[in-house]
Amino acid sequence: MMKRRVFVKRIASSVVVFSAPQLLIKATATAAQDTYHQIGPSTFRNLADLALRTAKGLGASYADIRICRDRREHLSAREDRIESIQNSTSFGMGVRVLWKGAWGFASSNTVNEASVKRTTQYALEIARANQAIQTRKTELEGLPAYEGWWTMPMKTDPFKVSIEDKLKTLLAINAAAQKRGADFCRSSMSFVQEEKFFASSRGSYIHQSRVRSFPRFTATATDKESGRFENRQSFAAPRGSGYEYLEDYDLVGDAAKAAEEARMKLKAKSVEPGRKDLVIHPTNLWLTIHETVGHPTELDRALGYEANFAGTSFVTPDKLGKLKYGSDLVTIIGDRTQEGGLATVAFDDDGVRTQGAEFDIIKKGRFENYQMSIGLAKAIGRKRSNGCAFADSWDKFPIQRMPNISLQPGKKKVSVEELIADIKDGIYIMGDGSWSIDQQRYNFQFGGQLFYEIKNGKLGQMLRDVAYQGNTVDFWNACDGLCGKEEYFLGGAFNCGKGQPQQIAPVSHGAVPARFRQINVLNTNRSDI
C-alpha cells in the first residue's frame, strides 16, 4: 500500500539541447502550415527587426518581441461517455519596451509588418503615459545575446496520437474505477504545445518549442443513506513530457485502486486532532514545497512588486544567506533544466539561458538565493537574473515565475517504512488536497487524498477529515527524515496563478517522502452542518 506507484526520476544535470539553426526548419517542416509556421526564421527576424528598430527610433532603451503559438487539446470523459474533445490554437505577438525607465507593453493577435509597427508604437505610447506615475526608473542588467533553437526532447508528440487511443484510455480509466466500486469517475487529458520566437534589442534571436501533458481523474464513492461522499483523485502529476508519459503510467491500475480507496474513505475513522508526526509522500509534499518555498523566494514579491495581489514574503532580502529555513537535511534547488520539468526550457522569456543558471534556494537548511527575472538582481547585490521569467501567453508581460523547485533526496537509501518505524503517533499522507497559505507565506493549511494512522512504528487504519496546519519555517525545521533518491517523485502544478492580469504558469516540484515532527493536525469535520 505504501509503495504504490512511485516514479523515480533522476535529476538530470542538463537536458538542454542546442541545435543548429537548420534544425528549426527540420523541426517545423512536418507541421501544419498555419500562420506561425509560415512565418519561419527569416520572416520572424524581419518582423523582430522591424519592432526593435521602431522601438529604438522612438527612443526605447530596450525592447523585445515574442511571437507565440499555443496549441491545446483537452479530452474529458465521465463514466462510460465522452464529455468533450476540444482543440484550440492561439497565435499572436507581444512587444515590450523600456522608455526612460518606464515599461510599456502591447500585444495583438494580428502578426504582420503593419501590426508589428502599430503594436510597438502603442507599447511606446503606454510607456510615455506611465511616466506620469513613474517614480522609480527600471534599470536592466546586461545580458549576453543568444541565437538559439531548442526543441524539448520527447518520444511521442501527444498531438500526433490518435484521438481514438486517448478516448480508449479515458474510458478504460473510468470503467476500472466503476468496476472496483466507484459510483462516478471523471477523467481527462490536457496537452499544451508552446512555440515561441523571441528577439531582443540585446541581439538575441531564439526559437523554442515544448510540450506538456496532464492526465487526471477523480473517482467518487457515495453513501445514499448517510448522504456522505468521498473522492480520490489520481496521483499522476502533470509533466513536461510527451505522450510516452501517459503510456508508461498505469492510469487504469491507479483508477481501480482509487475506487477502492474512495469507498474505504467513507468508513474511515475521523482523525483525533493534535500534534502528530507526519510522513508526507511527494504526491502531497510537492504542493507544500510550491507554497512554502516556491512563492516566498520569488524576488519580485519579496521586494513588493506583487503586494497588491499575490502578496509579499516573510523571506525579506535581509535574510539572504542567514535564515535557517529548514533543518540541515533540507536542500531545495531551482532549475529549468530537469527532465520532465514543467518549467524546463533553454531560455527564459527575458532571453536568459537556463543551462548553468541552476541554483540552491535552500542549502542544508539555509536560505541561499531568490528566483529572479530581468531587472531584479541589483536589488540584492547580484549581477544578473537566474532565468526565471515567463509569460503565459503572447499577450502577457513576462514576469518572474518559478523554475522547477525540488527537495533533494537524502544521501542514504531510506525507505518509507524506515521513516515510519520511528513514529509513535503519526499520520502518513498521500496525494494533494485542499491548500491555502497567507500572503506572506507563514501560515499554511493542507489537506490530502489519503491518510493512514501511524501507531508505534506501524502503519495502521485509514483516517479521514485530516488537514495539517503550520508555520513555514517551523515546519521545515521539523523535518528530521528523508528517503533516498530511489523514492524521488516529480509532482507539479499545471496552472499556478500570479500577477495582474493574472497569469498561469506550469511548474514541477520533485521530492522524496519526508518526516516532520509534531505538526498541528486538524479535524475538518463539521458535525453542526
Partner: protein, 444 residues
C-alpha cells in the same frame, strides 16, 4: 478586437455556412483591454491586450468536436470548421447530447459604456496618480492594478440562434503597506462603467486602513462575532453559488444532497433574512444576457427567505428530471439590510472587523467548509468601538453557517473579492456571530 453585432453575425454566418455537420454552434469572444500596474509607489508592468477567438462545435448525430482559433481570415475559419468536424467524427456518441438551441429571447443588455471602451493609456495613468500621491503623502507604499476594457461575445447555431453582447469593465484594486511592514490596507471595486470608479477614494480607504492596522496585537483564535465587509462576503457567496448545481446534488455528492437521496430544493437551509438572486438588468451589478449553451439569463431567486428556491439545471439534467433548464447565473445579488457598518460596530460588545479574505479553498464539499485568511485590515471591536488592529487569522468556516448566523446586514453594494474579483456581484457587509478562526497568522 471588438466586433459590432453585424460584424459578429457575418463571421458566425460564415462559419455556419461552411459546416457539413448535422448541427453546429459557433461562439465568438473578443476584447481590448488596457491596464496600469503599480508597486513601490511607481508604475511597473502596464500593457494592452487585444484578441478575438472563434470556437466551432460540430455535431454528427450525438458525436461532437470543438475547435478554437484566434485568426479570423476565411482560410482559418474554414480550417476550424473542418477541424471540429474531424474531431466530431472521431468522437463517441454522447447519450447526453443536446442539440443546439434555436432562437431565444434575451433581455436588453446593460453592461456596455462607450466612454469605458474608449479609455486610453494616458487616462488610466491619470486615474492612478492621486492614489500614489495619497500614499506618498502619508508615507506608505502602495501597489495597485487598474484594468479597463471592452469585450464582445456572440453565439450562433445551425438551429437559428443568434446572441450578441458588448460589455465594458473597469477594475481597480489598491493595497498599501507601512514602511515598518506592520500595517496593510486594501480597497477595490469593479464596475461596467469606469465613471463610477472613484480611484482617489479607494486609495484613501486603503491608506487609512494601512495606517490604522499598524502594529497589530495577537488575539487568540476561536469563535467570534465578526463584521465581514462586502469583499469578504462576495468571496464566500461567489464560491458557494458555484455549488448550486442540481446534478451533483441528485447524484449524492454535494452539500445540497439529501440523506436517503434527492436534493434539498425547497428546504430552508439558511437564516430568514437571506435572499440571494441574480438579475442581468440589476442597476449596480448587471450580468450578461446569455449563459450556458446560449440560454437566456433571467432574474432568478436562488435563496428566498432562507429557502433554496432554485438550482442550476443543465439542459440534459433538466430534461432527465423534468425540470426547466436553469443556466449558471451571470451575476449575483444578495439583498441587504439597513444597518450601517458604523451601527454594526456600535452594537457589537466584542467582535472582529474583517476587511477581506485571501486564498480561500474548499476543505470539505459535503459541508461547504472553506479555509482562508483575513488580510489587509483586521480589527478588534470592544464595547461598540474599533479599539485595536489585530493579527490576521486563518478561518475554517462554511458559508452555510455564516448565512445562518446573521445578526445584521448593511445595504447591498457592488463588491470585488480576492477569489471573485471581476464577476458582477452586489452584497452587503454582514454582522455574523460564531465565525470560526482556527489559528493566527504572522502575515501582514
Amino acid at each position: 478586437m471588438i466586433l459590432s453585432r453585424s460584424e459578429a453575425k457575418q463571421i458566425t454566418d460564415k462559419a455556419l455556412s461552411l459546416s457539413k455537420a448535422d448541427s453546429c454552434s459557433v461562439s465568438l469572444g473578443g476584447h481590448e483591454r488596457g491596464h496600469v500596474r503599480f508597486a513601490l509607489n511607481s508604475a511597473t508592468t502596464s500593457g494592452f491586450q487585444d484578441d478575438l477567438t472563434l470556437s466551432v462545435t460540430s455535431n454528427f448525430g450525438k458525436r461532437s468536436g470543438l475547435a478554437s482559433i484566434n485568426e479570423l481570415d476565411d482560410d482559418s475559419i474554414t480550417a476550424a470548421v473542418r477541424k471540429s468536424e474531424e474531431i466530431a467524427r472521431l468522437a463517441r456518441e454522447n447519450p447526453e447530447f443536446m442539440p443546439p438551441l434555436g432562437p431565444q429571447e434575451y433581455l436588453e443588455s446593460r453592461t456596455y459604456y462607450e466612454s469605458t471602451a474608449k479609455a486610453r493609456p494616458d487616462k488610466l495613468a491619470v486615474l492612478c496618480d492621486p492614489v500614489l500621491k495619497e500614499a506618498m503623502d502619508k508615507k506608505v507604499t502602495a501597489a495597485g492594478f487598474l484594468d479597463v476594457g471592452a469585450g464582445c461575445a456572440g453565439m450562433a447555431t445551425s438551429n437559428g440562434l443568434f446572441a450578441f453582447e458588448e460589455s465594458t469593465g473597469a477594475v481597480f484594486t489598491v493595497s498599501a503597506r507601512t514602511s515598518d511592514g506592520t500595517g496593510s490596507g486594501w480597497a477595490g471595486r469593479n464596475y461596467h462603467d469606469m465613471a463610477r470608479l472613484d480611484t482617489k477614494h479607494l486609495g484613501q480607504v486603503a491608506v487609512k486602513k494601512t495606517l490604522e492596522s499598524q502594529k497589530p496585537i495577537a488575539v487568540p483564535p476561536g469563535k467570534y462575532t465578526v463584521i465581514l465587509e462586502a469583499s469578504a462576503v462576495c468571496d464566500l457567496l461567489g464560491l458557494m453559488i458555484g455549488n448550486f448545481d442540481a446534478r451533483p446534488a441528485d447524484e449524492g455528492r454535494s452539500f445540497l444532497t439529501k440523506k436517503g437521496g434527492g436534493n434539498k430544493l425547497g428546504e430552508k437551509l439558511f437564516g430568514d433574512k437571506v435572499n440571494l438572486y441574480s438579475d442581468p438588468q440589476h442597476d449596480v451589478a448587471p450580468g450578461t444576457i446569455y449563459s450556458t449553451d446560449g440560454l437566456p439569463a433571467t432574474k432568478r431567486t436562488w435563496i428566498g427567505d432562507g429557502v433554496v428556491e432554485e438550482l442550476i439545471y443543465s439542459r440534459y439534467w433538466a430534461q432527465k428530471t423534468g425540470h426547466e433548464p436553469v443556466p449558471y447565473p451571470t451575476n449575483l445579488i444578495m439583498a441587504g439590510g439597513s444597518t450601517s457598518l458604523e451601527e454594526m460596530v456600535r452594537n457589537t460588545k466584542k467582535g472582529i472587523l474583517v476587511t477581506r479574505f485571501w486564498y480561500i479553498r474548499m476543505v470539505d464539499p459535503r459541508t461547504l467548509l472553506y479555509t482562508g485568511l483575513t488580510r489587509d485590515g483586521t480589527f478588534l471591536i470592544e464595547n461598540g468601538k474599533v479599539t485595536k488592529p489585530i493579527k490576521n487569522f486563518r478561518f475554517n468556516e462554511s458559508p452555510i453557517a455564516m448565512l445562518n448566523n446573521i445578526e445584521a446586514m448593511a445595504p447591498s453594494e457592488r463588491a470585488a473579492g480576492s477569489e471573485v474579483e471581476d464577476w458582477s456581484v452586489s452584497v452587503p457587509s454582514l454582522l455574523v456571530r460564531d465565525f470560526t478562526f482556527s489559528s493566527l497568522s504572522d502575515a501582514v
